[in-house]
Amino acid sequence: MRIAAATILALLLGGSAAAGTFSTPPSTTNNDDSCDISLEPAATLLLPYFEVDFNASRAAAVQTIFTVQNVSAYPQIANVTLWTDWGFPAYNFSIFLTGYDVQPVNLYDVFATGALPVTSSSTTVPLNPTPGSQPQGNAANPNFLPGAAAACAGTPFALSPPLLQDLRLLFTTGTSSGVCSQAVGGTHANAIGYATIDVVATCAAKNPSSSDYVSGILLFDNTLTGDYQLIVPRDAKSYAQGGTLVPIRAIPEGGAAGAIAPTNLPYTFYDRYTRALPARTADRRQPLPSAFVPRYIESGANGFNTSLKIWRETTNAGACSGADAAALSKSMMVAESVRFDEHENAAVLTNTLGIVPVPPAPATAATAIVPSTSFLFPPNIFRDAGGWLYLNLNNGGSSNYSTSRPGFARPSSLVRASQSWAIVSFFAEPTYAVELPAIALGNGCSPARPFSSEPGGNIGPAPNTTP
C-alpha cells in the first residue's frame, strides 16, 4: 500500500481519502518490456557471489558451480567474466552454446586446475524429431560477427600456469605478479568474487570494461538462463545452497552488436561502462534494485542462522589504479539498514544521521557474505530470534554513473541509486541449508529512497515512478 507518510498521518487523524483510489492500468503485458527482474530468459546473468577453496581436494573443497542454458534454437556465445570482490574484471572466457545447449562450469576446475569449459562452434548439431525442437546450425545466428565461427572453434580450454597463479592471487590477496601494481581485491583464504555472463557476438578476450565491449560485441537477445550451486563438503554434514542466476534482460531486445535502440530504462546494469558511448543506455540491460527486505533467523547453536550474500554495483570501472581503481570500491557505504524483530521493534543504522552511531560505519565491497549478526546491520536489541531487515544498499552514487533523469534522484543526491542484489542463506546444524533471493522493494528503475528519518521516508514498497 503505497501511502506516503503524510497520507498515513491523515488517515490516523480520521481521513480516508486514500480508500477507493488506485493506480492506472498496467502499461505493458509484454514479455521483456518492463524494469522488473523476472525469472525469464535474459541477455545477462549475474552470479552475485562465488567462493572456491582451490587448495583443498575436490572432495573436500568449498566450490561454486554454475550452469548456462540457451533456450533458443540459435547458437549463442556467452562471455563469462570473473570479477574480484572489489569489482576488478580479472578474467573472461567464452562459452559457445549450440541451440538448446546447456553448459555447466565448476569454478573449482578453473581455480584448482586451470581447466575451462570446452565448447566449440564446430560442435555437432543433432537431428531432432520436430521442427520446433531442432537447433539451428552453428553459423545460423545472424548477429554473430563474421569471424565468430573461427574465433569460437578453438577457445582456450586451459589456463597457463602463470595465469592460473595470477588468478589465484587476485582472488585471494587482491594482488598479482604483474597484472596490477596495487590491490584489486580483498584478502581471504578462498577465492571470492562474482561473475557476469553476457550474450555476445564473438569469442574474444574482452570484458565489460573493454572500450569496445558494449559497442562492439554485446548482443541483446534474451535467450540465456542459468543457476548456481555452492557445495560445502563436510563429510556426513555436507550441504549445498543454490539458486537462479539473476536474469537481466535487454530492454528492448534484439538487433546487431553495437545497435543503439531507444529504451525507457533510466540507466542500465552496465551504466558505469557506457561513459564514452553514444548512448549511456547502450547495453540496454535492466538495472537492479537498491532496497531489499531479507528475512533473518538467529536461533543460536540449535536452530537456523542467517548469512546474506550481497552484491553491489561498484562506484567505478574497476581499473588497476587511478580514478577508476577497484580499490576505491572496497568499502562502499550502505545508506541505511533497519532491523525489525518479530514484535516489529526497529533498530536503525544509517550512514548519514547517525541515529545509532555504531562505529565502524556500515560498508561493504562489491560482493561479500555477511552474517545477519554483523556490524553491517543494527544490533538485535530485543533478542527476538527472527524478523527482517530493511536494506537500502545505495552506495551514495558516483560521478561515473549517468546523470540522473528527472524523478530518479533524491533532492540531495546528484545521481541515481546504485544497484545491488541480496541472497538470504539459512543454515542449521547438522545439514539444513536453504538459499533464496531477497525480495526487493521496487525495481531497478525506482528512485533513490530517502532515509527513514526523513519526510516521506516511510519504509515500504517503492512508489511507481510515473504513478
Partner: protein
C-alpha cells in the same frame, strides 16, 4: 532471440522500447511485494515425530507500515480448498507457520488485532496502529481478535484424511492418495477475517489489492538418517493496478487473472487483478544416479473447476493434461511426449500439485540414447483450457492455463538445492504451439504486442 525461421532476414531490427519502468505495472512475476503469495507444493509427514518428519514451513511478511490481513487457504492436490484461516499482521510484521503443527498437533499460531504496536526510533520505521488501514471492513477490530479459533479434534482428523486419502467424511473425493499430507497454499490480502476462500461467492468483495506481502518457504526432509532442507521465495503475485477498497473494479490490461476460473458472475472477470502465471517452463534436470545429484520437479497447475464446483468435479483437477514436454540432453538431442501432433496423444495428466522425479518417463519424455545425465526440459503445461476460463481476444482457441515449476536437486548424503524454474514468457503470453506445428520453435515467447 524471438524469431521464426522465416524471419531470419530481420537481422538488425530491434523491438519497441520498454513499455514501462514502473513497479507493479507489468505481467512479469518478480521478487517484489505482492497481494497474493503462492506456496506451490507442501508435504507434511504428520505421523512421524518432529525430528524425523518431512515438514513444510512458510513465513508471511508485511513490508508496509499499515496493518494487513492475510487469508491463508490450504488446497488439496486436486485444488479443493479444504481449510483457510486469517493472519492479522501489524505493520512490518512477520509471521512464520509450520504446517507440521497444524497436521500433527492441530494448532495454528494465533494473531490478533489487539497486538501491541511498538514505538520505533524513526518516523519511517514506525508501524501505524492496528486500525489504520483504510481498506479494512468495519468488523476487523472485533473479528480479528485471536484468530484462528482452536480446531476441534474431529476437524483435524478430517483435514488429515482430506490431504492424504482425498476423501471427506461425506464420502466425496477431493484429493489424491499419499502417505504424507500434500497440497498447495494461497495467501491473499483481504479486508476482514471472515471465513471465506477464493471459491466463496463473495470472496472478491473482501479481496484487497495492495502489494505489501512477501514470504518464503522451507521444506525440511530426511533421507534415512540424513537431514536436509530446501526452500525458495513464495510466488509473488501482484495486483495490477494496485490499491483501492475491497470490491473495487479497476481497469487492467491483464488479459485474465490468477483467480480467473472463480470470477464468472463477478462484475468483471479480472476483478481480482492478480497477475496470471505463465504456462511454459524450462527447468534443468540432472539424473546422476545414486552418487550424484538427481532432480525432482514440484509442479503447480491451475485447476479447471469453477467456484460452483461440486464435490465430484474435483477429480478433474487430479488429471490435468499437459500440452507438451520435450527433454533436451547435454548434446541437445530431444525426446518428446508429444509434438507429433497427428497420431500421438498428449502426455498423461498430473494433479494440481505434485512432486515429479525427472526420471519419471511417463509424465516426462524418455531419456535419449546418448547416456547423458543432464540437460533441460521444455514443459508446456497448458492443460487445454476449461469452460471456467474467461475468453479474451488474441487468445485463441483459449488462453493457456497457468502453472509454476520448482526444480529440486538432491545428492547423498545431504546436498539439496531448490530453484524456481525459468518461464518462457509471462502469464500474459498466448498459448505456445506444439513443436511439431508449422513455424513453431521452442524458445522464449514472443511479445503479444511486439
Amino acid at each position: 532471440m524471438k524469431r521464426s525461421i522465416a524471419a531470419l532476414a530481420l537481422l538488425v531490427a530491434a523491438a519497441a522500447m520498454a513499455g514501462t519502468t514502473n513497479n507493479d505495472d507489468s505481467c512479469d512475476i518478480a521478487w517484489q511485494p505482492a497481494a497474493t503469495l503462492l506456496l506451490p507444493y507442501f508435504q507434511v509427514d504428520f505421523n512421524s515425530p518432529p525430528q524425523s518428519a518431512s515438514q513444510t514451513l512458510f513465513t508471511i511478511q508485511n513490508v508496509s507500515a499499515l496493518p494487513q490481513i492475510a487469508r491463508v487457504t490450504l488446497w488439496t492436490d486436486w485444488a479443493f480448498p479444504a481449510y483457510s484461516f486469517p493472519v492479522f499482521l501489524t505493520g512490518y510484521d512477520v509471521q512464520p507457520y509450520n504446517l507440521y503443527d497444524l497436521f500433527a498437533n492441530g494448532t495454528v499460531v494465533g494473531t490478533s488485532a489487539d497486538t501491541p504496536v511498538p514505538e520505533n526510533p524513526t518516523f519511517g520505521s514506525q508501524p501505524v496502529s492496528n486500525s489504520a488501514n483504510p481498506n479494512f471492513l468495519p468488523d476487523v477490530q472485533s473479528g480479528c481478535l485471536n484468530v484462528p479459533a482452536a480446531l476441534p479434534p474431529a476437524f483435524i482428523d478430517e483435514l488429515r484424511r482430506i490431504f492424504t486419502v482425498g476423501t471427506m467424511s461425506a464420502g466425496c473425493r477431493v484429493g489424491g492418495t499419499h502417505t504424507d499430507a500434500i497440497g498447495y497454499i494461497t495467501i491473499d490480502l483481504v479486508a476482514t477475517c471472515a471465513p471465506k476462500n477464493a471459491t466463496s461467492p463473495d470472496y472478491f468483495s473482501i479481496l484487497l489489492y495492495d502489494n505489501v506481502l512477501t514470504g518464503d518457504y522451507e521444506q525440511l526432509a530426511h533421507a534415512g538418517a540424513n537431514h536436509y532442507a530446501q526452500g525458495s521465495p513464495l510466488v509473488h503475485i501482484r495486483a495490477i493496478p494496485e490499491g483501492g477498497p475491497a470490491g473495487a473494479v479497476a481497469a487492467t490490461s491483464l488479459p485474465y487473472t490468477f483467480y480467473d476460473r472463480f470470477t464468472a458472475g463477478q462484475p468483471s472477470r479480472t476483478i481480482d487483478r492478480r497477475q496470471p502465471l505463465p504456462s511454459v517452463f524450462a527447468p534443468r534436470w540432472i539424473a546422476g544416479g545414486t552418487n550424484s545429484l538427481n532432480t525432482t520437479l514440484k509442479i503447480w497447475r491451475e485447476g479447471v473447476t469453477s467456484a460452483t464446483a461440486v464435490c465430484s468435479d474435483y477429480q478433474r483437477n487430479g488429471d490435468l493434461q499437459t500440452r507438451e514436454a520435450v527433454r533436451f540432453d547435454e548434446h541437445e538431442n530431444a525426446t518428446l511426449t508429444s509434438g507429433c501432433n497427428i497420431l500421438c496423444g498428449p502426455p498423461p495428466g498430473s494433479p494440481a500439485t505434485a512432486a515429479v522425479p525427472a526420471t519419471f518417463a511417463v509424465f516426462l519424455p524418455a531419456f535419449s540414447s546418448s547416456g547423458d545425465a543432464g540437460g533441460w526440459l521444455y514443459l508446456n503445461l497448458d492443460n487445454g483450457g476449461s469452460a471456467s476460463y474467461s475468453a479474451r481476444p488474441g487468445y485463441t482457441p483459449s488462453r493457456p492455463s497457468q502453472a509454476w515449476v520448482i526444480t529440486s536437486m538432491f545428492a547423498q548424503p545431504t546436498y539439496a538445492i531448490e530453484t524456481t524454474a525459468i518461464a518462457l514468457g509471462n502469464g500474459c503470453t498466448p498459448r505456445a504451439p506444439l513443436s511439431g506445428e508449422p513455424k513453431a520453435q521452442i524458445g522464449p515467447a514472443p511479445n503479444p504486442t511486439p
